[in-house]
Amino acid sequence: MSQALARPQSPNSWHYRELNQKNPGLDHLSNGLISLVEAGHPVMAGSADLQYSNGLNRFAARYPDRYVGFGISEQNMVSAAAGIATTGMMPYVATFASFLGLLTCEQIRMDVAYCALPVRLIGHHTGISMGFYGTSHHATEDIGTMRSIADLTVVSPADGPQLEAAIRASIDHDRPIYFRTGRGREPDLYDPKADFVFGKAIEHARGEELTIIACGLPVHPAVQVAERLNAAGRSVGVIDMATVKPIDRDAVLEAAARSKLLMTIEEHNIIGGLGAAVAEVLADEGVGKRLIRHGIHDEYALIAPPTHLYAHYKLDAKGIEELVLKAIG
């Protein structure tokens, strides 16, 4: 007779509700929201059947009266968040970026942005971070869709700590915001206690040969590449354009004035995203600087574990270094 086991025996076994341990970067979402509630702000959080994926289960356990589970009804969640925001509360609602940025695009435009309501939309597991879950779960268009919606601020933090800092700063931001964040497994670059300023780029290095302008996950490897190359006598700059909209125009123009080349790097289609936003600034100002747009080159990503995809699409440090060296010779 077989013996029923109380639990698996190996420490390597895990289940969905233990995802917090695997995605520590997303702990920062709940951390930021808990600190806002503790400070007395009328915030609430909601999710569409993904509280263990985005870590909001921690917020929900702490403040059950401030959390709403919407089930698998993303459009309903976004429209309801808009209704909640009319009453003076500030809702933070989260689901996969692939669904927020495309499935709920119209609800975001009509109910959130057009109505100018302070709803915070958190699109997590963005880009190709879902790896072999496939194209339905990849978000390589969300910057493009969200950026074209008037009155919507678009923020793409590079890691969990920067997301937490931006969440805390958002309490003073009276407009709707789309946060585009990863899956919480990125190595930390920032300190969660650092100030986050909407619309202000963060300069990590200055360079005359080339400046990388990146957002999201590629920022950290880009910083590592610049450090390595600059230590070897090259001159490569890195700017974290964490706020994609409104874009820090001065930062783009200063980089263009300083560097021979510009390169944008994003975990997004090169059409419509950060590269397009930088190109618009250069064109608007009549700056004839060569811009290399790097990201997903107008295609659907392959099936593979995320790290393999980042290597394949040259979004990791090795791939970025290869592209930079090719550009600067």
Binding site: G71, G83, I84, Q107
Partner: protein, 287 residues
């Protein structure tokens, strides 16, 4: 609803007369405003005129301040009937009459659909059919979180029942036991391409809402006494643990005879001479 309950909430004769007058006012103002725009949704308002009147002149808790936090809310899934709401907002003093009289003209806040950013008294913007019940669900959730007692009324078109998001909200409202959320379906039977039953049938509608966990009442949407009693009860019933759906059986174009029989009047324009005749017919009837 049993007869005893109906009697408890039935408006008195004076109220009935007043509400009939306000429904007539909504129809007449709609004709007047559409003369300005030279195109509009007469019949979508005419089917809902009694619903507007009962809510704004009897059932809803309002104040002089259209932003009062404890006011009852009204949202329109069928935002194209906003031309029937604007005269009420002006009548209640939320909107200057000269603004009303500039309906749809360059730079005026009043367009074919209601805009909460521009129009005091509009509780939520609409125009994209299918969102409003979710918006109302959010308000009802937030009201509960804040310990407020306002009721949120959401008027939906019957064609709107074809939108999937309505049923996402229906599931959610029942799950969260939002007893201060009331949906009113204006079951006028027609949508742009024809009869709802021909375009994309939605019956049995009452059974659908019941199956989704709502308390359901089917009323004659032009019988002001029956409609008002149902709305009063939906608001007053503190013991209810479910959201409430009132299916108002109505006639699209009610009040102008040829509009009641020609679905094309969903959108149209009456020349001033025809508008006068329509006004005369509305004034000659007791609905």
């Amino acid at each position: 609803m049993n007869s005893a309950l109906r009697n408890d909430f039935r408006p008195d004769e004076e109220t009935i007369a007043r509400l009939r007058d306000r429904a007539q006012f909504v129809r007449l103002e709609t004709i007047r405003l559409i003369e300005i725009a030279k195109v509009g949704h007469y019949t979508s308002v005419f089917s809902a005129a009694e619903i507007f009147a009962a809510l704004y002149y009897d059932v809803m808790r309002l104040s002089d301040d259209p932003k009062w936090a404890d006011r009852d809310r009204f949202l329109m899934g069928k935002g194209h009937a906003a031309v029937g709401l604007f005269p009420i907002l002006a009548d209640l003093g939320y909107l200057p009459v000269d603004v009303l009289n500039g309906y749809t003209r360059f730079g005026n806040p009043l367009g074919d659909h209601p805009d909460m950013r521009k129009v005091p008294g509009v509780d939520f913007s609409s125009g994209s059919i299918g969102h409003a019940l979710s918006n109302g669900l959010g308000m009802a959730l937030a009201g509960r979180m804040q310990g407020r007692s306002f009721t949120t009324f959401v008027m939906l078109g019957d064609g709107e029942m074809q939108e999937g998001q309505v049923w996402e909200a229906a599931i959610g409202a029942a799950h969260h036991k939002l007893n201060r959320l009331v949906a009113i379906v204006d079951r006028n039977g027609y949508q742009l391409d024809g009869a709802v039953d021909d375009v994309m049938g939605i019956e049995p509608l009452d059974e659908k809402w019941r199956a989704f966990g709502w308390e359901v009442h089917v009323v004659d949407g032009h019988d002001i006494a029956e409609l008002t009693a149902a709305l009063r009860r939906a608001k007053a019933d503190e013991a209810r643990t479910r959201p409430c759906c009132i299916i108002a059986r109505t006639l699209k174009g009610k009040g102008v005879s040829y509009m009641e029989t020609e679905p094309g009047w969903h959108l149209g324009y009456l020349d001033p001479s025809d508008a006068d005749a329509a006004r005369a017919e509305i004034l000659s009837k007791v609905i």
